[in-house]
Amino acid sequence: MLSIKNLHASIEGTPILRGINLEVKAGEVHAIMGPNGSGKSTLASVLAGREEYDVTEGEVIFQGKELLELSPEDRAREGVFLAFQYPIEIPGVSTTNFLRTALNQVREYRGLEPLDAVKFLSLMKEKMALVEIDQKLLSRSLNEGFSGGEKKRNEIFQMAMLEPVLSILDETDSGLDIDALRIVSNGVNKLKSEKTATIVVTHYQRLLDYIVPDFVHVLYKGRIVKSGTKELALELEEKGYDWIKEEVDSTATV
């Protein structure tokens, strides 16, 4: 589904990603871990098409298409979803209104009729139950005055509504208490299918107790330096990142 080859990206001339290689197949969950500043969030942003990053080398193929050639909105319409680490506030625009605009633009791109108000509402009801979100929250201004947990839950609700092929969760666990973490993870798990894939970007193993990954990758200095299964995450939890840093730094060639 997703194939990242030798991806290099920089911001204002400073290289952040220095050759990422990653293959993600349908039905898989990949966790990207790593110490602060290793490039985890940058990878998520580059995949979603954030403009301030310059891709200097490499390619990304998503379902047979050159992902990096597409505008951010077209990537979304092709089925790439990014759950933001810091969801953005849009005053005066309700989640409902926002999502209706989004969903209908996605549908138009895919050659589908727009959903009328009745159908949209029934779809919303269905997905609301899935992620245990209150309708009151959805009629408030998007993310404005939301608690950390409400924001993250709202992200997962949007994901449920837009039914993406590839979901990228960028530090979705940050700022969540245990209950919120469980609800959010449950939502993500319910949305998983044979046809979709998930990339979970996280700093801590905690989230991976709930969203169990098939593969774990450790990002350090803009490269994937170690890959393994979920046991790797447990090992990192126990030993921290220093042993990996040392391993990499000692073998690094200048």
Partner: protein, 481 residues
């Protein structure tokens, strides 16, 4: 930053869609402004002597006045002697009702999306249409007449209801009020008049649609709304003009009188030609709008969506004379390209327990300048006056300007006045967030701007609100920063 500018430069704004004009035979005054022209207009309109004298007095006053320069706008002053002060489509005889109006004129309005055919109009809106200097048609006159509501052109009101005109004309905006109001008083040619009798709730929206067609012609119309005790009316105003290279002058006066327990809601969607993207042409919109809450418990509410005009100079105001009277001002002013707007309100608290509320949302894009100028005045006897003002500015790109000039003048210590102001930018973050959900950038801007202006748009009657939302999106098309 350079990327932003690139986008701003690359994407031209969408062309003004009402920029066309039509050739038809006109009846027009010679160019220039002097006493003879005023007499010419008055004769043309078969006016009574008292009105001619009123005009001439206004003209004398005006001659001694200077064009105001305190507003935060810069433009080359117009040569008022090079303008024409009267231009009217030639009609063989005065139409008695809508069926007798020249089909050619009706076609103009059809093209603007305004149907004058009462049968075709589903929405409950009665409309008076003013083309250049004269009112060409008023719909639903008979229906309204049954309730005692008078809704007609100003000229007709002068003939049919002289006692009302004499009583209220200039009672809210005196002829000597300011430079443009005095000019208007001297040369005004037509406009709308509306009277709601005691205890009557007007069952439909009343509306005036202004269109400037002729070149080198100023439009000077007057609207006078009188809501007698315990009555209610909602009034709408819309306007467009052809796209011309020269600036055109629109200097209108609107007066509202609200008796005890009466309520008047006045909504404007102003879409004059704003000039092209290089700042050439466009309407100078120098308008005086004021209402008086004359009776106790009366209420006047102004809602405006200002998207057009090259230069806007406009401060719809409320004189809160009656005890417990309420004044409201809700405004969205958008400027793009080289537009300049200096707009706001005045709330003058005279009566006891009077309340006012000001919500102003400025949106600046391109190289435009957008200023809010508002005054809250609490007089000595206005015990327990309350005011709440909120002035927000939204900036798009880094070449525009937003300015706020609040004046607060309190003479009674029991007054409570609150003022809140914010300035924000449409963030790349917000746009990216929308993009990431599949929303195209133009639509993202429309969504964000409409969200920002929601509090004001919610005040508009339904169909107008939809229209205004589209207009906001259209005005800002291509201005992503």
């Amino acid at each position: 930053m350079s990327k932003d500018n690139q986008i701003l430069e690359d994407l031209n704004s969408k062309e003004y869609e009402h920029g066309w004009s039509v050739n038809f035979e006109t009846d027009e005054a010679p160019l220039g402004l002097n006493e003879d022209i005023i007499r010419w207009i008055s004769t043309k309109k078969e006016e009574p002597t008292w009105l001619l004298e009123w005009r001439l007095k206004a003209f004398k006053t005006w001659q001694a006045m200077k064009e105001p320069e305190w507003a935060n706008v810069h433009y080359a002053k117009m040569d008022l002697q090079a303008l024409r002060y009267y231009s009217a489509p030639k009609q063989s005889k005065k139409p008695k009702n809508i069926n007798e109006v020249d089909p050619e004129l009706i076609a103009i309005y059809e093209r603007l999306g305004i149907s004058l055919n009462e049968q075709k109009r589903l929405q409950g809106i009665a409309i008076d249409v003013v083309l250049d200097s004269v009112s060409v048609a008023t719909t639903f006159k008979e229906t309204l007449g049954k309730l005692g509501i008078i809704f007609c052109s100003f000229s007709e009101a002068v003939k049919e209801h002289p006692e009302l005109i004499q009583k209220y004309l200039g009672s809210v905006v005196p002829m000597t009020d300011n430079y443009y109001a005095a000019l208007n008083a001297a040369v005004f040619s037509d406009g709308s008049f509306c009277y709601i009798p005691k205890g009557v709730r007007c069952p439909m929206e009343l509306s005036t649609y202004f269109r400037i067609n002729a070149a080198n012609t100023g439009q000077f119309e007057r609207t006078l709304i009188v809501a007698d005790d315990s009555s209610y009316v909602s009034y709408l105003e819309g306007c467009t003009a052809p796209q011309r290279d020269e600036n055109q002058l629109h200097a209108a006066v609107v007066e509202i009188y609200a008796g005890a327990h009466a309520e008047v809601k006045y909504s404007t969607v102003q879409n004059w030609f704003p000039g092209d993207k290089d700042g050439k042409g466009g309407i100078f919109n120098f308008v005086t709008k004021r209402g008086i809450c004359a009776g106790d418990h009366s209420k006047i509410s102004w809602t405006q969506v200002e998207t057009g005009s090259a230069v806007t100079w406009k401060y719809p105001s409320c004189i809160l004379k009656g005890d417990y009277s309420i004044g409201e001002f809700y405004s969205v002013a958008v400027t793009n390209n080289y537009q300049q707007a200096d707009t706001g309100t005045k709330m003058i608290h005279i009566g006891k327990n009077t309340k006012s509320r000001i919500v102003s949302k400025g949106i600046s894009a391109g190289k435009s300048q957008n200023s809010y100028r508002g005054q809250v005045q609490v007089m000595k006897r206005a015990h327990n006056a309350r005011n709440f003002s909120q002035c927000d500015s939204l900036l798009m790109g880094d070449q525009c300007g937003a300015h706020t000039f609040p004046y607060i003048d309190i003479a009674n210590p029991s007054a409570k006045v609150e003022h809140e102001a914010t300035t924000s930018k449409i963030g790349e973050d917000q746009i990216f967030y929308c993009n990431q959900r599949g929303i195209a950038t133009e639509d993202a801007v429309a969504l964000i701007v409409n969200g920002y202006a929601k509090e004001v748009l919610n005040q508009l009657p339904m169909e107008f609100a939809v229209e205004a939302q589209k207009l906001l999106a259209l005005t800002l098309e291509g201005s992503v920063g």
